[in-house]
């Protein structure tokens, strides 16, 4: 059955990573999107990790992987026990994910602005092979500051890359804002766009399931949080606290 909120057990898994006993849902802005993707949208399963027709989720905003790790554990991609010592010497899970170490992680990310160009290439490669698998990239609104995204948005739009979805998690952490709104940047480049409440599972599900075969789709998922300053959210996650990484 479709969820309306992230189930409590997922928050418990997340707490095993973060040590955050308060289960403060506002601290993990990516959790709702990632949960809805894995629970209700993507055609992917732990026993199909190498299936060429699987859908691909690319976490470009790689500095906040706790939510993704929790969902991967909940869905059986990785052992739950891996969540207890993230970023230790023995751990395969780091503060930025490495695709060669974590089953189900499609790209290593961390440095911002790499996931969307990779997703464009992946979608082009699948299209060239007549492979109908979807490619969904998750970026942050701050991450859009990186110019490589501007390049990739233009290329994907002009090449009418229908297999590609870009979710922009908008937590108002970009430096200067985007006059006219983030969605307008994609629409100008001929993307299909949607602007949804990033906590509303039904809205996320509807938007994420929509595919226009003739052009890529951008979904701006607004979180209700104000920008979470270093020292509040990302510190609690035990994540990198550099300004660039904690914000974007």
């Amino acid at each position: 059955m479709a969820t309306t909120t992230v189930p409590p057990p997922i928050h418990d898994l997340l707490a095993r990573i973060t040590g955050d006993e308060k289960h403060d849902p506002s601290a993990h802005s990516t959790l709702d999107v990632v949960w809805v993707l894995y629970d209700q949208v993507l055609d992917i399963a732990p026993d199909r990790l190498d299936d060429p027709t699987r859908d691909r989720f690319l976490l470009s905003k790689g500095h906040g992987p706790a939510s993704t790790y929790a969902v991967l554990a909940a869905k059986g991609f990785i052992p739950v026990s891996w969540l207890d010592d993230v970023a230790s010497w023995e751990s395969r899970l780091g503060h930025h994910p490495d695709r060669t170490l974590v089953p189900g992680v499609e790209i290593g990310s961390g440095s911002l602005g790499h996931g969307l160009p990779l997703a464009v290439g992946l979608a082009l490669g699948l299209r060239a092979q007549r492979n109908p698998a979807r490619v969904v990239a998750l970026v942050g609104d701050g991450e859009l500051d990186e110019g490589s995204n501007a390049e990739a948005i233009a290329v994907a739009g002009r090449l009418r890359l229908g297999g590609l979805t870009c979710v922009v998690l908008d937590n108002h952490s970009d430096k200067f804002g985007w006059p006219g709104g983030i969605a307008a940047r994609f629409a100008l480049e001929e993307w299909e766009t949607a602007d949804v409440d990033g906590r509303d599972h039904a809205a996320l599900r509807t938007a994420l399931r929509h595919i226009d075969p003739g052009r890529p789709t951008a979904i701006v998922a607004r979180t209700t949080d104000e920008f979470l300053a270093p020292g509040r959210s990302e510190n609690q996650q035990g994540m990198d606290t550099r300004t660039k990484d904690s914000a974007a």
Partner: protein, 301 residues
């Protein structure tokens, strides 16, 4: 700078047959080279991808294509291919543990009239600073063609550095050192990379040195170097790009014996703010026959 050199012409002419015969091959461009591939692009619109003047995304797209199981061949001018998106090479290819075949044009000072913006003599040093790369520096269009055909069938990370300069005839491209001019094993050894071979042969024609050739400076054929070098080697390493690029590899190969090694290449301590011809630049850098001769004579006494 728009002149089509023999290597460049040959490279473009190889791409059509590769795309026709191997469904894994995809070509990624940032405008440069696109105009010569119109027919090929029409035959393979999904596998000839020109992203416009967007070199970061050019490399990112190549990484994504490789993740999809394809074999990307990425091509543009050396500075835009290697330097513009260097982090993309490191992360979108290396860190993802996928491969691509990069083929650059405009080696070192080939684009002499274009100025510093179109010159990247540090390209081989930069690429070889990243894990898991092979660097080929063909000395002839035929060598280039053999490399491209062979490497397009692998999944490795490979950089092929084309040049407008080339030798009179091709040499083997098996990655090893090949003796071009032999002699007693106690004679000093000149190792020359790629298109500088004929210049080095001219520069040393009456000197008591041996000359060995390779078109694959990275990884350097350490076994071949050790075998040729002998117990107390005197070696000149002549490279048509940044001087000392192979210094660490040569030092590692000869670590167990006393040696004297000269590294000849494009000087690294200044920017040559002049235009003129590649020949002018070679002379200014000491990389024409008289310049190389003078440096080697100083080494061998």
């Amino acid at each position: 700078m728009t002149t089509r050199t023999p290597m460049r012409e040959r490279f473009y002419s190889e791409l059509g047959p590769l795309l026709d015969s191997d469904p894994r091959v995809a070509v990624v461009l940032a405008v440069i080279g696109s105009s010569g591939l119109t027919d090929v692009s029409a035959r393979h619109p999904d596998r000839v991808i020109d992203v416009g003047i967007r070199e970061q995304t050019m490399v990112g797209v190549a990484g994504g294509l490789a993740l999809a199981g394809l074999r990307p061949i990425v091509h543009t001018y050396a500075p835009f291919l290697v330097e513009r998106g260097y982090e993309q090479l490191k992360l979108d290819l290396g860190h993802q543990d996928v491969g691509a075949l990069l083929v650059s044009t405009g080696a070192s000072y080939d684009a002499s009239t274009a100025g510093r913006t179109h010159q990247a003599p540090a390209d081989v040093a930069l690429i070889s600073a990243l894990p898991g790369w092979t660097v080929h520096v063909p000395g002839h269009a035929e060598e280039l063609a053999r490399m491209v055909r062979r490497e397009s069938a692998t999944d490795q990370r490979v950089y092929v550095r084309m040049s407008s300069a080339q030798n009179a005839r091709p040499h083997p491209v098996d990655g090893r050192l090949h003796v071009v001019r032999g002699g007693r094993h106690t004679l000093p050894l000149v190792v020359v990379v790629g298109p500088l071979l004929d210049t080095v042969l001219e520069a040393t024609h009456d000197l008591a040195v041996r000359v060995a050739y390779t078109s694959t400076p990275h990884p350097l054929d350490a076994h071949g170097l050790r075998t040729l070098a002998g117990p107390t080697p005197v070696v000149a390493m002549v490279e048509p790009y940044l001087e000392g690029t192979s210094a660490a590899a040569v030092a590692a190969a000869l670590v167990d014996r006393p040696s004297r090694v000269l590294h000849v290449g494009v000087p690294r301590d200044s920017e040559l703010r002049r235009y003129g011809s590649p020949k002018d630049h070679a002379a200014a850098h000491g990389l024409d026959a008289p310049g190389i001769r003078a440096q080697i004579k100083e080494l061998v006494g």
